[in-house]
């Protein structure tokens, strides 16, 4: 046990860079996913059949083929097929972004359709343009409802980043695996790794809780002061499980 922790201290620079890779993959992947969620989600509430159809096909494709296969396809299968090669980290970001963007688009669609119908009608009555209506009336209200589900997806995305180890990006998992191989402390190494991910997940949840609070405050809704420290994966799990087939 002490072997492991003295090696741990010696390897701090590598650990820091591993943590950095994991965080980069999580944050950049999440940003790409957020962008795609909105593009695909807004397309799916469009009045044009073609736009809705394209969004549907893209979403079903990326949800239906497993993330694991998408990542490996980008890493192993794309270079010989197209001649382009992505760095491992970029492969991860693209795969996470596409996969979670597809799940996120359902969140956006659900939240937008849950905004009361009267809000649309009022905006129409006030002669707002469709863009103005979306930006000023619909999205701000839908956004509050999206955040809890996005938190859930973000945690799931974080939990997928150890896959980077398999395509030889030097993420947190890779670094701690190397420590384990050197010290032979299997149990300590994996427990440390699990605790590290738990702490990251909790930190991300707290940030998202803050975001939700400020979004609620902007709408003048009660913020529920006590809920800030809550880790809410449990309630979200139920919401996302019952909120449509995944």
């Amino acid at each position: 046990m002490s072997d492991f922790f003295s090696a741990f201290v010696d390897d701090l620079p590598q650990l820091r860079s591993g943590l950095w890779v994991t965080l980069q993959a999580t944050v950049l992947g999440a940003l790409l996913a957020l962008l795609l969620s909105f593009v695909l989600g807004l397309m799916s509430v469009s009045r044009m059949l073609v736009t809705r159809g394209v969004s549907r096909v893209v979403v079903e494709f990326f949800r239906g083929t497993s993330l694991y296969i998408q990542l490996f396809w980008l890493y192993y299968a794309m270079p010989p097929l197209t001649g382009y090669e992505l760095t491992p980290l970029l492969c991860g970001v693209v795969a996470f972004g596409l996969n979670y963007g597809a799940y996120g688009s359902e969140v956006v669609r659900g939240a937008i359709s849950s905004v009361p119908r009267a809000q649309y009608e009022a905006a129409v009555a006030l002669n707002m343009t469709p863009l103005h209506r979306m930006r000023k009336v619909i999205i701000p209200q839908a956004w509050v409802q999206m955040i809890p589900s996005f938190t859930n997806l973000l945690i799931q995305l974080l939990k997928c980043t150890p896959l980077l180890w398999l395509i030889s990006a030097a993420d947190l998992m890779t670094v701690i695996q190397q420590l384990r191989d050197r010290t032979g402390e299997t149990l300590t190494a994996y427990l440390t790794l699990l605790v590290a991910y738990f702490v990251l997940a909790y930190a991300l949840t707290l940030l998202m809780n803050l975001l939700e609070r400020s979004a609620k405050r902007r709408l003048g809704l009660p913020t529920g002061a006590g809920s800030l420290l809550h880790s809410r994966s449990a309630t979200e799990a139920v919401a996302s499980a019952t909120g449509g087939a995944r």
Binding site: G64, L67, Y76, L81, T186, L193, S233, G244, R246
Partner: protein, 213 residues
């Protein structure tokens, strides 16, 4: 080595389908473990003593917030004597039980309070109360959610390849490495996934609508 080699795809297909059998087996058994264990945890989480409920919930929270891949690799490294497929099924089952237990909990909370009171009034034993009154009502409501978790689990079974379970992705990767045909092998595996999971999620959506969710 440019373009898509149809001959390689044809050669890889039987292997990929062979691996798919293991994928289905792991999903079915993993779902079974998750469904049974999740129920047990949900009932334990309602125990009268805090010494039981608090640790149970803390452990479930920890399992939910940490990556499945690390749990799998860690378990495989610790229990080297156990067969990889068994480890895979148990870890998948336990991981998803952490989620399904919450689904059951919501289902149990959804049973009207009057039902509990009626059971007390009839002086049923706790066992009879759960068995004859609460669970039949709770389980019916949670079936669609459990189905969705089964689909999720199906899409995460490729993780088992990492601990050398010979499921579909393991076979695809092996074929790719042996014949230098990753493109064909992984494309096939992806298509098999798509063909299998899309109709299932359509079916689940129908079931949900019928049960009025």
């Amino acid at each position: 080595m440019n373009g898509f080699d149809w001959n390689a795809a044809r050669d890889a297909l039987p292997l990929v389908l062979e691996g798919f059998r293991v994928t289905l087996l792991a999903t079915a058994l993993g779902t079974l473990v998750a469904a049974v264990l999740g129920l047990a945890i949900a009932v334990a989480g309602r125990a009268p003593s805090r010494f039981v409920t608090v640790p149970v919930r803390a452990v479930m929270e920890f399992i939910r917030s940490t990556p499945l891949l690390v749990q799998l690799v860690g378990a495989a490294a610790l229990f080297t004597a156990v067969e990889p497929l068994t480890i895979g099924i148990v870890v998948l089952g336990v991981h998803y039980a952490a989620y399904t237990s919450e689904v059951y909990r919501a289902g149990i909370d959804g049973v009207p309070k009057g039902q509990w009171e009626a059971c007390r009034a009839l002086s049923l034993t706790p066992r009879r109360t759960w068995q004859a009154v609460i669970l039949p009502q709770a389980v019916r409501n949670v079936l669609p959610a459990l189905g969705n978790y089964a689909i999720s689990m199906f899409k995460e079974t490729p993780f088992l390849a990492v601990i050398t379970v010979q499921e579909m992705v393991f076979e695809a990767r092996k074929y790719g490495a042996d014949h230098f045909a990753y493109t064909e092998a992984f494309t096939l595996a992806g298509l098999v996934f798509l063909v299998a999971s899309y109709p299932t999620s359509l079916l689940m959506r129908k079931l949900e609508k019928r049960l009025g969710h």
